[in-house]
Amino acid sequence: MSGYSITEASPRQKWIAGLLVAGYTIVTLVPLFWIVATGFKSPSDAIAYPPKVIFTPTLEGYVNLFTTRTRMNPDQLEALGPPQTWYDGIVRQYDMVISGPSRFGERFLNSVIIGFGSTFLSIFLGTLAAYAFSRFKVPLKDDLLFFILSTRMMPPIAVAIPIFLMFRTLGLSDTHLGMILLYTAVNISLAVWLLKGFIDEIPREYEEAALIDGYSRFQAFYKVVLPQAATGIASTAIFCLIFSWNEYAFAVLLTSGTAQTAPPFIPTIIGIGKDWPAVAAGTTLFLIPVMVFTILLRKHLLRGITFGAVRK
């Protein structure tokens, strides 16, 4: 016999697998790296050709992201005296002074409210619906489930015009509530289907034991079913959040002021000055919440997507 084994990969196979994984990692991480790096470049470095990999980092992009600035003539600058803060110093190089905060903070907060709000609502409604579908005799259950899924059979943006008109009539345009409802409507079918799968896997005996132990149906649901569905809820929540956090098309169409989220706002930062570092800085900050959320729930996510395949 040679050293051949069915279960253990040969060193060559391991090498090839390693290389493939490394290659894939590079392909996915380089754009991210580039965005983060661009956020710390000066505007001229950002558009330099050939692209600069080594550069002097500056916080200019971040300062520009969070502020609005006005240009002044030298006399006025003279009158102001030396810059008071480090960020004042940065903008002075361009003969400008900070005239106020930018709207980035508000837009970012909108994203947080709408993204997490709709995720919460999708999960809340989705869990209840999935539980009902999983446990109770629902008339026309299969048809209803199919109907719920059918809302995802076309790209949501295909119904943008009717939604636009509907929102205008109902006064939901450019409101947080409107966007939360919209994203929830899109996410909920996915949530119901995913969660139903998870809840189906939880043996009914657990709830029945709780019922017999003296708990009501609803207590049994949230004290026994919910903790065990945590894995499924976490992974479903990540999918919902990623969608609503990153959604661009509806956000452009339906929000412009009060409820505008970060995705349509960030590209407008570029303005006339070709301020790529500020755009990259905004994008970097925008990536962080989903990343943190995903890392926090990573344990659940990994178990979640292999759920059912591996039985305890």
């Binding site: 043996p203 005996e205 657990y206 029945e208 034991a209 709780a210 017999i212 132990d213 003296g214 305890k312």
Partner: protein
């Protein structure tokens, strides 16, 4: 503790009738077995007693009060599930105390009760372990702990030993029975294993296709099966049926098997048609050279002190359990006789036993079983 009376209980799932017109009584403190083949409605019956399933019609009297439509949480009954249903996100102590917490019991009292239950079951040392890594025996004990800690009116157990391996089953069965004897709690226990039922139960109800065929003490059911199904289901090997096509009349003292008159206890009723069966337990068959009724030995199975002899008779195959010391050879033709007072007679058309006048069997007063 409680008496449970099942009256005319019926359960339909859509068009399918899972349990029909059941009647039996579980006395206070009894260890009561629900026995029957797979799919006969044992679990459904038990779940109705627990309140997990609401009956289509009929009554469940718990200490005289009809609870048929009362929700599970209000019945004060404990249930031990086949796969234990321990909450995987809680440790042993929390699993056991969970039913008490629901009643809003003070913490100190909960601790005391959990400690007590753990003591009874001998699981004090694993109280703070997660349930995930427990052996199946310990899981079983924790599940029992969760049941006994409440001091409920009754315990319901659905094949509680089904998930254990054969060796362990026996030990756990003894433990369970000992636990019951110590606590004296009314217990309803579902099993499809007739041996387990005979060994552990004070009373047994035998179900088949949603119908209660018979209920009574293990001895009653063994000695006087009410139906051919029960006779066939209980005992290993089961009761033999010697079928014959002749109407049995009320008051007769013999039946004719292929021309040979065989004495039976005097009948009190007649068969409805011309098909009948004589029921005889293997251990009540005697091999004797002078018997007029004869059969050919076709197989011999040696079991240590006894042996099972399979005979080909004019009325079908028959198994006899005789001492190993009796010499029998395959191919031999032997005469057969039966212990008259132990015989049963069945109406082969309805499958029901005929009422017979009996003297005592095993020195007990004989009651004719009329259930079923």
């Amino acid at each position: 503790m409680a008496q449970i009376v099942i009256r005319n209980l019926r359960k339909e799932f859509g068009d399918f009738v899972a349990v029909r017109e059941s009647d039996f009584t579980i006395e206070d403190g009894e260890f009561f077995m629900l026995l029957g083949p797979s799919g006969c409605g044992k679990t459904t019956t038990l779940r109705m007693i627990a309140g997990l399933e609401l009956p289509t019609s009929g009554q469940i009297l718990l200490d005289g009060k009809d609870v048929a439509q009362v929700p599970a949480s209000a019945r004060d009954i404990a249930f031990v599930f086949q796969m234990f249903a321990l909450y995987p996100h809680m440790n042993v102590r929390r699993n056991i105390s969970y039913p008490l917490v629901s009643q809003g019991m003070p913490r100190a009292e909960v601790r005391r009760r959990v400690g007590e239950a753990a003591g009874i079951l001998g699981i004090e040392d694993i109280l703070d372990r997660p349930v995930g890594g427990l052996s199946s025996g310990d899981r079983q004990r924790v599940a029992l702990g969760r049941a006994i800690v409440r001091e409920p009116k009754a315990f319901l157990m659905d094949e509680p030993l089904g998930a254990l391996d054969a060796e362990f089953r026996e030990r756990m069965a003894e433990e369970l029975r000992a636990l019951h004897d110590r606590m004296g709690a009314t217990t309803v226990y579902v099993t499809h294993d007739q041996l387990e039922a005979m060994q552990m139960g004070d009373k047994i109800v035998v179900m088949n296709r949603g119908v209660v065929e018979q209920w009574g003490t293990p001895q009653d059911i063994y000695d006087f099966p009410a139906t051919m199904f029960v006779a066939d289901f209980i005992g290993s090997p089961p009761m033999n049926f010697l079928r014959f096509d002749e109407q049995v009349r009320a008051g007769s003292r013999t039946v004719r098997l292929s021309g040979v008159e065989v004495p039976v206890p005097q009948t009190r009723e007649a068969t409805s048609g011309a098909r009948a069966a004589l029921g005889v337990r293997p251990e009540h068959v005697r091999l004797s050279d002078d018997g007029a009724y004869r059969g050919d030995v076709i197989a011999v199975e040696y079991l240590g002190t006894t042996q099972i002899v399979t005979l080909d008779t004019p009325n079908g195959d028959l198994k006899a359990r005789i001492a190993s010391s009796d010499p029998v050879k395959v191919g031999e033709r032997v005469g057969l006789s039966f212990v008259t007072q132990t015989l049963s007679l069945f109406d082969a058309e309805t499958g029901r036993a005929l009422a017979l006048e009996r003297e005592s069997v095993r020195g007990r007063e004989v009651r004719e079983t009329t259930h079923g």
